[in-house]
Subunit: 228 residues, 2 copies
DNA sequence: CATGGACGGATTGTATCCAATTCTTGCGGG
DNA sequence: CCCGCAAGAATTGGATACAATCCGTCCATG
């Protein structure tokens, strides 16, 4: 059998994980030797994974300087969410008429999975299930490139997403909104779904924006080099 | 001075060029050793460039099999153009109010540059100038991520674009449409620009679609391996 | 004749080594 | 004290060498 994955793919997953969980925070330089050692591979597959994350917009790359986790300004964040609004609306409008009973069941189960994770306070599991919940809807549009673009936009803010779900109140509001969305889906009420989704999104952008401009930025993070 | 570019960037440019000009056609496998030799580098920087093109959607990658130039189905093509319509409309609506006199002059000059290339029958120069013309507008929206997504969508069809401009009639229609768009820009008539742009786009999708389903596909191309 | 399995060449994947660039540090001069 | 600047250290960029995988072929077997 050939279920074995290549080292570059394994490293890519671990990098995503580390960005999502904040092990690698905004502004950090990704020193290749250290990371390669940490992941137990050589620098070659690591560099290919870094290149992927760069072209997805999660990292920035300066030749001969290295890769850094992107730091988003408030404007950057607004742009990402503006583009998400545009594309997610389109995805939902294409998806809802195409949903079959099986899809609805899957989506409902994912909503429950999120709720369970929220109750448990398992932030990691919650972000994971949350992404599957939303993309179950987007993917139903049957437009792979659209899904791909949306994945990029979601990942662009992964470095900040972890912070968001730290707040218990955020977690509970989210599950309530999801339940509303599932009901609207079953009713095939496209306009209502889009409206709920827009509202849902603007709540999270507001929350992340608040986290973005704190009085006191986390002072622990070390920034080995400043960028030009 | 440090104006020198890295090998991976140079290779990336040459790969884009070769895809755009059809040296590398849809379905071709990119054999690393041959390409590396052709470009005069080792496989390491080449692979990083391939990784970039993969995550942009111009190549597909099968682990342990290699990279192949994507082959677009009619549905794929329609999806790309549908997404372009969505995002380009948004870009234009944001851009037009922001254009200053300098931008308008630049855009006009680019339109003339395209026309000159069309007259000369210089397909390569025409596609190049055409891209700069359109992105001069999109970029004026001041949304770098939007520009980036659009660049990806444009490049996704690069492998087919060269064919389009082969037709002399296509080339002439295009320049006429550009002139109309420039006039509408000067008048700040947003709705008209968007309408013209949509029409412009649907002409090219129709033409490429026709090229995509020919009675006789090009039989010369060798396909070393078939994909799963 | 069809099928399956082992061998060998071709291609990709990874590690290691060296070169090139950038960053840091410390020193001297103003 | 501050700036410029020159070595040395740290880091990235690239080339080569080797390992792993895949694919086509050929032969044995039923």
């Amino acid at each position: 059998m050939s279920a074995r994955t290549t080292a570059q793919d394994a490293v890519l997953s671990r990098l995503r994980e580390d960005i999502l969980t904040g092990v690698l925070g905004p502004g950090d330089q990704l020193v290749q030797e250290s990371l390669a050692e940490r992941y137990g591979v050589s620098r070659v597959p690591l560099r290919e994974a870094l290149k992927t994350l760069e072209s997805e917009g999660q990292l920035v790359y300066y030749p001969h300087r290295g890769y850094f986790v992107v730091e988003l300004s408030t404007d950057d964040l607004r742009e990402v969410y503006h583009l998400r609004a545009l594309l997610e609306d389109a995805a939902l409008r294409a998806a809802v008429p195409a949903l079959d009973e099986r899809d609805l069941i899957d989506i409902s189960e994912l909503a429950e999975e999120i709720e369970q994770a929220a109750v448990d306070g398992d932030v990691r599991a919650m972000t994971e299930a949350n992404r599957r919940f939303h993309f179950a809807m987007y993917d139903a549009a049957g437009m792979p490139r659209l899904s791909r673009l949306l994945r990029q936009l979601w990942e662009a803010t992964d470095a900040y997403r972890a912070l968001y779900y730290q707040g218990e109140d955020n977690r509970h509001r989210v599950t309530g909104e999801h339940a509303q969305m599932v009901r609207a889906l079953r009713a095939r009420d496209v306009d209502r779904i889009v409206a709920l989704h827009d509202e849902h999104r603007s709540h999270s952008v507001a929350a992340v924006e608040a986290l973005l401009n704190p009085r006191s930025r986390n002072p622990h993070r070390s920034h080995p080099r400043e960028k030009p």
